[in-house]
């Protein structure tokens, strides 16, 4: 069975540009979460989507947005890129959005570099 897949693997953008990152969850998983991992830090929660609805949002500016499609895949969009947006963007899928025994499974991530 395929795990969580993300595309692209790497991306280089310049300040002010916009970027779209994509994620396909594990088959049967209905919840997708996005995390940002800056070098030297742990992943930080950005969004969670379940059944196409936003279930939660972390402490990120409105330049960050996301959506989930009927097939449960998801896109993360970042507008007006800043140098500080350079990070590894991780997507995680789980059966349901709630806690406790419902582990999230991560994809390999998209490495975004903003110049």
């Amino acid at each position: 069975d395929a795990g969580v897949t993300q595309s692209p693997t790497h991306l280089i953008k310049t300040r002010g540009q916009q970027v779209t990152l994509r994620c396909s969850p594990i088959s049967g998983h209905k919840s997708v979460s996005w995390y940002q991992q800056v070098l030297g830090q742990g992943p930080q929660f950005i969004f969670q989507y379940y059944e196409k609805e936003e279930r939660g949002r972390g402490n990120f500016p409105d330049r960050f947005s996301a959506r989930q499609f009927p097939n449960y895949s998801s896109e993360l969009n970042v507008n007006a890129l800043l140098l500080g947006d350079s990070a590894l963007y991780l997507c995680a899928s789980s059966l349901y959005p709630t806690s406790g025994g419902n582990e999230q499974f991560f994809g390999p991530g998209t490495r975004l570099t903003v110049l």
Partner: protein
């Protein structure tokens, strides 16, 4: 304000010996804790978890201990193997009474474990 802290950026042990990775948390709302392992160029992989109603959970070579009063947990790997060399993240989830935020994993900064042959 770091709610999950891994104060050791790195740890080096000999193959066959025990590796002990530590994690402290400050948020009393956390009631489920997970350890993830991360290799370079890969996403974090779930390793083992523990609910706050337990103080120990074991899975093969991996054991997690939780001391709720001290807000401290640790991951023991026995015996350590060179393939265990990776970054280990401690993560926490709040409980179901946390006002709807019980989906949000909060991670520590990670500890780089190196197991020497």
């Amino acid at each position: 304000d770091q709610q999950v802290k891994q104060n050791s950026p790195s740890l080096s042990v000999q193959e066959g010996r025990i590796s002990i990775l530590n994690c402290d948390y400050t948020n009393s709302m956390f009631d489920y804790f997970l350890w993830y392992k991360k290799y370079p160029a890969e996403g974090p992989t779930f390793l083992i978890s523990i609910s706050s109603i337990k103080d120990k959970n074991e899975d093969g070579r991996f054991t997690v201990f939780l001391n709720k009063s001290a807000k401290h947990l640790s991951l023991h790997i026995v015996p350590s193997q060179p393939g265990d060399s990776a970054v280990y993240f401690c993560a926490a989830l709040p409980g179901r009474d946390s006002g709807g935020s019980n989906y949000k994993l909060t991670f520590g900064k990670g500890t780089l474990l190196t197991v020497n042959p």
